[in-house]
Amino acid sequence: MTAPATDQFVIERAIRGDERALRQLWTRHAPRIDAVVRRLAGDPDLAADIAQDVWMQIFRALPSFRGDAQFATWAHRIAVNRTLNALRRVRRVEKLELVIEDDTVSVEMDSDRAFLADSIEQAMQRLPAGARMVFVLHDVEGYTHEAIAEELGITSGASKSQLFKARAKLRRLLAHLVDGPMPVSERTHVTPES
């Protein structure tokens, strides 16, 4: 797949140092880059620092972009890698054991998109760092458990375990948004024999 003509034209100008082209790339792709950085980082201040680093890296690496992939995919990959590296640097990936807390978050139904997004971001921030990263990489970014295991230095089994715990906790934290049929606290859970 090749980069769309419009992106390619803008990229060529951006490589030559055209400020308007650089701004166009930033305007067009920042929302998606921000979303993945924000979700992986958890902490908003940390996310802002990382996003700045990510964009500088994207701009610096522009001459190496060969156009054999979409710019969005290429930039997104840089964003994920830089974010994971940054998180490693600040020692946020020290411990991947998930401690599920019995806390809840007050989320009210609201059709406002920003409120919805904010609710999800807040819920994700309440996940332990390791579980959040696994959830974002697998369920949002589409990574396989094997790729996640390689990125985070864990086993694919640990990645799966983290993912299912993260999903379960998010489901509780976002109960009011997804409106489950029965309060979780009122249910008895046992795994049936296979």
């Binding site: 929302p31 921000d34 500088m56 299912f164 489901r171 976002l174 859970h189």
Partner: protein, 227 residues
């Protein structure tokens, strides 16, 4: 009825149930609903967020860094239509900067001297125009106000101390450079427009005069090499 474990239901959001689980899900609305709720959470996380929250970065800040690294070329000429309309907006903005600079200098004459730093802070607030027509009309209005302000200053205190001295001259040079840049791009786009040529030449003349003033305002023994 025994329900499925929550983590197993989370796994089944995109996983394949065993035969026993399939049979259970077919009979148990609660577990089937929970499975759907888990899938809904994933969908929400996947498709909500972009464009909904404020940006994490500011392009202006990034551009500043890129400029320091020499990755943004200054004054890259372009012949696109976008630029043809864009210079009007920048020229209007530059004139507005001059007008606001003159006004601010006048108002703050007794408060504090104008510094180059203050001038660059002012230059960040470039107005945003919706159409070239709006920019052009602002340019004409600003030009009229600019001339009026200069005239007023000449008659009522053109020798105000705030407009004299090295700091004031440097601030003026910074603004004149912006104005000259915008005017030059205008002349490039419309070389036979007498008004634009006049603007450009006047700005250069004012810049030259300010440079000479700055040279004269510097302490004895200090030579002007850059500002």
């Amino acid at each position: 009825m025994s329900h499925l474990n929550p983590e197993r239901l989370a796994e089944l959001a995109d996983g394949v149930p065993t035969d026993a689980e399939t049979a259970h899900l077919a009979q148990c609305a609660a577990c089937a609903g929970e499975r759907q709720a888990h899938a809904a959470v994933i969908e929400l996380a996947r498709h909500t967020g972009e464009h909904a929250l404020p940006p994490l970065t500011s392009f202006e800040f990034l551009a500043e860094q890129l400029r320091l690294e020499g990755r943004i070329s200054s004054g890259t000429p372009s012949k696109s239509r976008f630029v043809t309309t864009g210079w009007w907006m920048r020229a209007a903005a530059a004139v507005l900067l001059v007008v606001s600079g003159v006004a601010m200098g006048r108002w703050s004459a007794t408060e504090q001297p104008v510094t180059p730093g203050a001038a660059s802070e002012n230059s960040v607030a470039v107005p945003d125009f919706a159409t070239p027509e709006e920019a052009r009309s602002t340019l004409v209005r600003a030009e009229r106000e600019y001339r009026g302000a200069l005239s007023w200053l000449a008659q009522n205190g053109g020798d105000a101390t705030v407009l004299e001295g090295p700091d004031a001259y440097r601030a003026r040079l910074a603004v004149l450079d912006e104005l000259a840049g915008a005017a030059r791009r205008g002349v490039d786009e419309a070389p036979y427009d007498p008004l634009l040529s006049q603007y450009y030449l006047s700005t250069l003349a004012a810049r030259q005069a300010t440079l000479q003033q700055l040279g004269g305002a510097l302490p004895s023994g200090v030579r002007l090499t850059q500002f």
